[in-house]
Symmetry: C2
Subunit: 205 residues, 2 copies
Amino acid sequence: MGLRERKKQATREALQEAALRLAMEHGPANVRVDDIAEAAGVSPRTYNNYFSSREEAIVAAVTTERESRIAGAVTRKPPGTPLADAVRDALVEQYTDPGEHRREALLLITTDPALRSAFLNSPAALEHPLAEAIAERLGTTDTQTARVLAAGVAAAVRIALETWIHPRTDGLVVVSGSLPDLLRTALAPLAPALSAAENQTPEGR
Amino acid sequence: MGLRERKKQATREALQEAALRLAMEHGPANVRVDDIAEAAGVSPRTYNNYFSSREEAIVAAVTTERESRIAGAVTRKPPGTPLADAVRDALVEQYTDPGEHRREALLLITTDPALRSAFLNSPAALEHPLAEAIAERLGTTDTQTARVLAAGVAAAVRIALETWIHPRTDGLVVVSGSLPDLLRTALAPLAPALSAAENQTPEGR
DNA sequence: CACTATTTTTGCGTGCACGCAAGTTTGCGT
DNA sequence: ACGCAAACTTGCGTGCACGCAAAAATAGTG
């Protein structure tokens, strides 16, 4: 990886880190993008070359790393594992709480409306990498099916996060509980679609 | 319906219509929200009480009516129709080209990047009404499953619109063709999930 | 009709997103 | 080492989104 890309990566991380730190120190409402840019040592205009909203950098600090690992985790599941299981397990793994410093950040995020909204959009970033991982496991060149399945999964994840953040009484049951459980529940309805796709293109073709 | 709600509806439609007309006349880039507001006879600030971006009103003029009919169309399918078929047919019906004046508008929308992007987000508005329609057909009080399925369908529709707007070579096949065909293709992978959900909660329970 | 409560509209102020063009850095071939 | 081309950064200008609080419109009640 050349100097160019390393620098870009460094800038991106500096912005994320600065954004999160400042938001935790002064509260999300009291952080202007100029502050973030200054703390990261770049111009305000450059901030918007990396992130297209003030909230994005803060949320990215919490979600980016996790999301980048999910597709990898799916690919890494032992061959022969049913696709639905591979996806479910990969997601549950990666969304299992990693530590304390992230938890404070999440509390901050779920407090502020704009941040919440940006947070709930974050699973959209799963679509492309996940679609590739699924296509690979299906061993097909038909990208379209993989894209639809990945988008469905991303949507399910988003819904799991939604009900995790503001729980609701659903029918007669109160839905709340650990995020892993909510993920499993949200993914369950899609499992038949994942299975069907992989039976459509059997191993030995 | 009281005077209040009728007026709100009228304002909303006036804004949509004005936005679309002005965009067609002067080109999307040369329409400021102040112009739209003035043409609709409200203050600029009021525009943003109805739409949260300049593009939204333009796109809404083309998509809103259609979307509001889809959930109804699903509900209206004869009882006994498999859920997957009901959803597919309802979508195909409603997305079948209605006429000429809309076609020009669509050309306009697909030309401008910001409008394209807003247009591709429009299926998100399907989620809530569609989730209710699906829940009703499933005859279940478990909203969660219906929400996930509806979100999956909305995502599939979005992907159909994406590949319709900028077609791609996918594997060895060039994907292009009529929107109805693209919709069928995009929905196909989800059909097993819809079927499984309705077999989970059989009629006579 | 008169009075009050609720909802909607409006103006203002502030910070933000982004196109553009000029300036700066990096990569690479010679 | 030089110099050119491509990529990245920056400043500027413009229009936009939205919180807030005051004013206007509407609904409901006696």
